[in-house]
Subunit: 628 residues, 2 copies
Amino acid sequence: MNIQTPPPNPPRQPTRTPATGDVTVGPRAGGRKVYQDGTLFPELRVPFRQVDLHPSAGEPPVTLYDPSGPYTDPDAAIDIARGLPALRAGWIARRGDCAVVDAPRQVRPEDNGGASGAALAPAFDNGGRIVRRGRPGRPVTQLEYARAGIVTEEMEYVAIRENQRRVATEQPLRDGEDFGASIPDFVTPEFVRDEIARGRAVLPANINHPELEPMIIGRNFLVKINANIGNSAVLGHVADEVDKMVWATRWGADTVMDLSTGRNIHNIRDWIVRNSPVPIGTVPIYQALEKVGGVAEDLTWEVFRDTLIEQAEQGVDYFTIHAGVRLAYVPLTARRVTGIVSRGGSIMAKWCLAHHRESFLYEKFAEICAIMREYDVSFSLGDGLRPGSIADANDAAQFAELRTLGELTRVAWDHGCQVMIEGPGHVPMHKIKANMDEQLAHCGEAPFYTLGPLTTDIAPGYDHITSAIGAAMIGWFGTAMLCYVTPKEHLGLPDRDDVKTGVITYKLAAHAADLAKGHPAARLHDDAVSRARFEFRWEDQFNLGLDPETARCFHDETLPKEAHKTAHFCSMCGPKFCSMKISQDIRDAARGQNDGAGMSAAEITAGLAEMGEKFRAAGSAIDVAVTE
Amino acid sequence: MNIQTPPPNPPRQPTRTPATGDVTVGPRAGGRKVYQDGTLFPELRVPFRQVDLHPSAGEPPVTLYDPSGPYTDPDAAIDIARGLPALRAGWIARRGDCAVVDAPRQVRPEDNGGASGAALAPAFDNGGRIVRRGRPGRPVTQLEYARAGIVTEEMEYVAIRENQRRVATEQPLRDGEDFGASIPDFVTPEFVRDEIARGRAVLPANINHPELEPMIIGRNFLVKINANIGNSAVLGHVADEVDKMVWATRWGADTVMDLSTGRNIHNIRDWIVRNSPVPIGTVPIYQALEKVGGVAEDLTWEVFRDTLIEQAEQGVDYFTIHAGVRLAYVPLTARRVTGIVSRGGSIMAKWCLAHHRESFLYEKFAEICAIMREYDVSFSLGDGLRPGSIADANDAAQFAELRTLGELTRVAWDHGCQVMIEGPGHVPMHKIKANMDEQLAHCGEAPFYTLGPLTTDIAPGYDHITSAIGAAMIGWFGTAMLCYVTPKEHLGLPDRDDVKTGVITYKLAAHAADLAKGHPAARLHDDAVSRARFEFRWEDQFNLGLDPETARCFHDETLPKEAHKTAHFCSMCGPKFCSMKISQDIRDAARGQNDGAGMSAAEITAGLAEMGEKFRAAGSAIDVAVTE
């Protein structure tokens, strides 16, 4: 099987320029974009979403983590034909460890599945693109910098992000069970460096993705979530593909994987990466398979190698590599109920069997490392043998692969590459902890990145929920990133609503995990919502939630009037039965008796006793305010 | 405050007869109603939903638990003006331990909140209603029968239900972690009797609810779910209220609580109970509060006592009684973020403080027991001091009440009353197990019945999911029944879609718990779905799921043609990339080489090696079927 030689002509120019209006822009309801500057690197501008509360709350604004990028900044000028600002370009240039590639790889027709004419997606071309590659003998990856004791701009950036503008002199509440994690009260750039140096965290940041707003994935940081985009069908407009990424990050996705198959993979990916504020992950074997006409047995190391370079030079931040699907493991899946459910895993399994050879991904792993290192593309070591049904959970095939991934982690680290490990899948609750224990035991504390897991198979249509249960639990146990699942899992491609539902579901699962781990920032968010709820600051409750528009809309279905937004009840119980209203009455009455907030329980008891006396004396009318 | 004396005239006759068409009838998609007869009591007809699979599966039909009653039986004649068949009436009469009440309590205007004329809901009257009460000195409750060593019809009925027509000679797979539960391979009527006698299970079955299809709530049985219905607004048509119950049970609710406030509480409840195949629960303090014009301080023991009798004679199967909200505990909530979130709890707290007296529910508890015993109304001891925010979880107020509920459990048992214990609430994951441990330690293994718990406060609009996480976990730890939460939690009243979403969400959470506990029936369901999925039996996959219509609809959004229902791919990956298709190819090829199913891994390896040879020899064409 020969790779076609590159044609002499450049790809056709786009016949239609996607307009800015094609992607979702504008602030999220109820919050505004704010920035915090760097200290070590004053030019840093780290974004957050700030929710200002009603003045009656007497509380400071709440700062929330925000991966949505400039799209939600009303001051940003968005033009997806130009791409996002290359905010990292100066840092990379200053470090001087990379060189501009004089003759970068040119796009070829097979990169786009042979599409041409009207079927070929327009190329991205903003007239200024350069491709960088690391200089030999110089640090390139965040891991290499970290080991050399160097704190990069990216490291300070993520330290600021993770603290969410909390003040370092406050002693935060630490109430959780973290199973031996090492989450600090406040994240310093030095802590970030140390975590990366140990391999315990990954900062996915291809030197060719300067538009990236850096983020970090690790057990000792906020639990992150990934959303999948991409399609398997005919050409969609490139703006639609970009907007899937924009939409997913708008709602909270920390990274996005482009899992496109079919045609135009290259051109679509260019548009996505150039416009993405979050790390982009891919599974290069998909595009390699397209290049060999969909015939798994025709895959070769050369086609794959070329695809790695193609995608690395575009700026993809992490690659899923199924190097753990070894020939000897494939028969271990023979008795499974659902065989091999990973696309990449099944492709490699087929290749191994057809050739009766060891996987070329495994055999050529060192060469893969050498390529990825040059661009700081991180590994996501794929779980090609993950269980796709409850029956297959924690079986020999799955754990054999996991041990191999642990072995490969050391090889990658030796080459200076960042590594995270992918995980399951479908796992009943009682088997989830063992997955975390095994991964910690074999993979040197490299971050774990799971798909759910789904805790039962019986609810197609609701697998965002069956998996949220497992995801929250495995996040609590130490998993660093959770790959979302939408309601369409097992049934078809998700639409925009499904993507949003999946993202919100996984944001709440990740937060439930942070909370249970005792992350110092987590409780602040829950408490702010609950105070707003108790004080009937409805707008604050909505705005502090993960989906303000939906919360407001649900409330308004039965109590739409504006006056109801200050009502001390809702339609669930009505004014007479609202327990919070009654609780407020009790508390206000007790405070009215004495000095207000800060009373001891004994004082409140005494106050409440007096209140009882007064009530009876006054004839027990409920609506009479108790006054001194 | 005086209770109005009953008027001499009976309530007005209904001016409009609800038509059968007003409730949802007809079989669920993809399954059919089947019945299994009793053995000890041959007249029993225990319902199930049977899903027949495609012949190519070579598998027997799958039998699923079914609480939906005659509404999903195409052979049943539904007329909600007549009510359901009184299938238990003969059993109750045969036992001879109850007497017909000559002068049952008559309905009074205050029972319906003073509604009259067009505002008064029609009374239910099918012309044949009798009211029973237990004879002194005779067993009445299932607990009393159980302790006397008597197996009732109800006990055999639930034993049959719990086995889901599994055959007792098969050795089931037991793969789980049950934290010391005692789930048998097969449930016998004697096991049911013993569990009830120990207080470890509750069979809610008011002698005045003969239409009930009996069910059991206990740690050693399938985890059950409750749906809440009722409203706080103006009169809805009674058929709408009945249909809320029918709708909830159609999707899987095992019990239904009618939490209505406002007017027409009595008449609406009559229609619901007479037409309910599942146990109905209520919170009698709500109606008592309506009778005193909404003034909590005006509640009296006499009004409450009268309300208990009123509701017990209607046939309510369990009462939530907030007898644990003691005067001394109320100040313990003073520092809480969300105070007292239970309606009933806040009402009683207000009463205690106003009177500076111990709760009359606590002081009169023995009298409450005596009343409830006479009708076999079960206790659901209310968690009036449950935490309504993460910050308040597991605090002193909550556990003080729990210990009192444990004390009251013994009193109730001494009176022959069945008891379950209500639980939280809002609890972060790391504090959930402690709730189960405390409840087991203090409440004598009475069944636990929790509301969620919600594992974070930050997602209003998605609290069915935040709570599904906690519910699945606490069900795994031993909780017997999970009270559902809908997307509208904290925001307003749920509509029909919300009710369905809440029910399906809680069914999957309950099943995830059964699975993790190693319940012998649970895995069979997951495995049947997964085999259907792997074999591309799409209709079977849909029909075996908790919501076949939604699964089919989601699939059809992107692959609607009928031919696609046998397609070996879906739109997620398409035909080239479908991992299950590739897995099938691998497995079929290996089996084609040898003898088919049942090969050892070594044989498959050898087979796969030969297959590799053949592939290369044949030129590696992917779509050529491998033949011997």
